[in-house]
């Protein structure tokens, strides 16, 4: 009995250690950032850190999840920040004119779904390279909303008091957890989740197999639209306004977070835990840079370096002997399915 218990314990310990080792290997950069933050925390006292961290983390996580879904499906999206900014302009305009909040939410969601549909059409039907057409879309959307808003912030006169409401952020945190589970379910328990990664990995093969790539892409982009909608709304609540500039700063931050999280650029790779870890790291990194007055000169350099490092590590993973294409990995039980 004791031997059996010992053997079982040992097996659990080995599995646990294996998981830990795997996690450390996959999150080397993240762990370095977390350790750096812990060291700084030992020497400095930061006030109210948890409140601000949670707010910034939730907002960035919503955007990261949306972009990660798009990237996993092969759409390297450079237009998401402009799309979110545009949605804040529309949302603020509607709220300013006393349109019901639910109608506004619906409108913003439809706007993002429309954006996703355009991207799906250009990528799947017209076979355009996503990095180029999303760059063009970014410019079109950004400039259009600058003209529409006259380069001004659209201020909502009756300020919704969500920003300083702790209960609101608790609910947001709960909603985030639920949505994370939904993404996990979508990616690993639905056909469209599998198609999502297959789209990113080999669209041509998917088409040859008779699968409807456009429908899959549309559904994936619609799912991403939910996250972009959440981010747009949070920006509106946070600033009580909408503008063609709001959220534009998140472009490189989110791409860097996803690189830190091991989300492959257009090859269907990525885990939810990676997205979460990468986002935590980026929020901490921006905080560290701000606290020590390095943010202006170093932020974009650091983000650029992270993106390069992420791409390089992705390349190493791909050329390693043990590398399995994502679609094949799905066939092996347990692989690619854990959080």
């Amino acid at each position: 009995m004791a031997d059996a218990f010992y053997a079982a314990s040992k097996k659990i310990y080995q599995i646990f250690m294996k998981k830990i080792k795997k996690y450390v290997i996959e999150n080397k950069l993240n762990i370095i950032i977390w350790l750096a933050f812990m060291l700084i925390l030992l020497k400095n006292t930061f006030l109210y850190f948890e409140y601000f961290f949670i707010r910034q983390f939730i907002i960035m996580l919503f955007i990261s999840l949306g972009v990660a879904l798009e990237m996993m499906s092969g759409d390297f999206d450079l237009s998401f920040a402009a799309q979110i900014s545009g949605a804040t302009v529309i949302g603020a305009y509607l709220l300013k004119n006393e349109i019901n909040l639910y109608v506004t939410v619906l409108f913003i969601l439809l706007l993002h779904i429309l954006g996703g549909a355009v991207k799906s059409f250009l990528m799947i039907k017209l076979k355009m390279p996503s990095i180029i057409f999303t760059l063009a879309l970014q410019m079109i959307i950004s400039k259009t909303f600058l003209i529409v808003s006259n380069e001004n912030n659209i201020i909502i006169p009756d300020k919704p008091a969500y920003y300083n409401n702790n209960m609101f952020w608790v609910l947001m945190a709960a909603l985030t957890a639920v949505l994370l589970l939904c993404v996990h379910w979508f990616l690993y328990d639905t056909y469209y989740g599998k198609y999502c990664r297959m789209l990113g990995e080999n669209t041509e093969l998917m088409e040859k197999n008779g699968l409807n790539c456009f429908a899959a892409s549309l559904i994936i982009h619609s799912f991403a639209a939910v996250f972009f909608t959440m981010a747009s709304l949070l920006f509106i609540f946070q600033t009580v306004s909408g503008s063609a500039y709001i959220g534009s700063n998140y472009l490189y931050k989110v791409l860097a977070a996803l690189c830190l999280g091991g989300i492959g650029s257009c090859n269907g790779e990525g885990r939810i835990s990676g997205i979460v870890a990468g986002t935590v790291s980026m929020v901490l990194l921006i905080f560290i840079l701000t606290s020590f007055n390095y943010v202006n000169k170093w932020e974009t350099i650091v983000e650029g370096m992270i993106i390069l490092a992420g791409l390089y590590m992705g390349r190493i993973r791909k050329t390693s002997e043990n590398y399995l294409p994502n679609s094949e990995r799905n066939l092996i039980e347990g692989e690619g399915r854990d959080l």
Binding site: E50, E151, T290, V295, L339
Partner: protein
């Protein structure tokens, strides 16, 4: 399935642990701060007296929030603030939010967390008010500069219409003395920013009042800090109005560009004048060189004023009303004195 659930649980536990880890430190800090605040309240009078007696404050951290740190104007403020803080032995952080209000809010939060005592916010409107209010509630002093919203402990600003009137007065004086009041004027303003719109209106009001014989040919919206707009607009205006002899701009950047367009058109004579505001180096040099740039307005040094009022507000002084920056009109008459200074 079990593995997945375990995975989910592990992830959540890790996140919560991390948050709790960070939170506990902050919680302790919050509790400490609350106690410290109570103690501070008890001894506030003593502290105030002590501060007045001692004069200098120590362990102060200043946060500067700028819409950009890529233009001559804001870079100069940033450098001056840094130098002033170093001189006083204060800590200093500066963040550019690139006109993105959400980035401004995050930066305000990070400044509060890293214990800034004063946040100097050069925001453009009330979109950061909620975050500034939250910072204020945590004991951070808020200094607004260049804008006046509902949330501030001290506000350094200018009466933009008044600035416009001053620019208009300089132009009017020149038109009356050089052109016998027969000015053919184009005003460059922008309708995309309320402050600049007010400044533009001030220019028009001053010209109408002081130069009744002058004609304002057109009031042009040249956009907000659009590089190249001064050049292209001036080229168009010179073609549209051959009689044009005076350009009055809301800012030096467009004025300097206009000057180059006027010179390129061969119109740089004594009977052509350009007037603006900001006192940039290029504008001042042009005035000193007797170029078609005839006048600009210089503001009192901004950074020293920011530091002075930071110090005063930290010592407990209250400034419910806006504090206006002093301005100086610079023309060929006093440019030598100014450059010597």
């Amino acid at each position: 399935m079990k593995q997945r659930v375990l995975g989910i649980m592990l992830s959540l536990v890790m996140s919560v642990t991390m948050l709790t880890g960070c939170g506990s430190t902050a919680e302790n800090s919050t509790a400490d701060s609350a106690e410290a605040a109570e103690e501070a309240a008890d001894t506030s009078e003593v502290t105030e007296e002590l501060n007045e007696a001692v004069g200098d404050l120590e362990d102060v951290k200043i946060g500067f929030l700028a819409p950009t740190l890529q233009t001559e104007f804001f870079i100069a403020i940033d450098n001056d603030l840094k130098a002033e803080c170093e001189e006083k032995g204060w800590e200093y952080v500066a963040v550019s939010f690139d006109n993105d209000s959400s980035a401004a809010v995050s930066s305000i939060e990070n400044m509060v967390t890293s214990q800034c005592d004063v946040i100097i916010a050069m925001v453009s409107d009330s979109s950061c008010d909620v975050a500034l209010k939250a910072a204020q509630e945590e004991g951070v002093k808020i200094m607004e500069c260049g804008v006046q919203t509902d949330v501030y402990d001290v506000c350094l600003n200018t009466d933009q219409h008044g600035i416009g009137v001053e620019i208009g007065e300089m132009a009017s004086d020149w038109i009356n003395s050089q052109l016998d009041g027969k000015g053919q004027v184009v005003v460059y303003t922008t309708f995309q920013n309320q402050d600049m719109q007010n400044r533009g209106q001030g220019i028009q009001d001053a010209i109408a009042e002081n130069c009744p014989d002058a004609t304002i040919l057109e009031v042009v919206d040249i956009g907000k800090d659009v590089t190249g707009a001064g050049t292209s607009t001036t080229e168009n205006m010179l073609q549209k109005y051959p009689e044009l002899n005076t350009i009055v701009c809301y800012g030096d950047a467009a004025a300097v560009e206009s000057m180059e367009a006027v010179k390129a058109a061969g119109l740089n004579s004594d009977d052509f004048g350009i007037f603006a505001c900001d006192g940039t180096e290029q504008a001042l040099t042009s005035i000193a060189d007797n170029d078609v740039m005839r006048g600009t307005i210089v503001f009192a040094s901004i950074a020293p004023a920011m530091i002075e009022y930071s110090e005063r507000v930290l010592k407990g002084e209250e400034f419910p009303d806006m504090i206006a920056f002093e301005t100086t009109k610079i023309t060929s008459k006093n440019i030598a004195d100014f450059i010597t200074e």
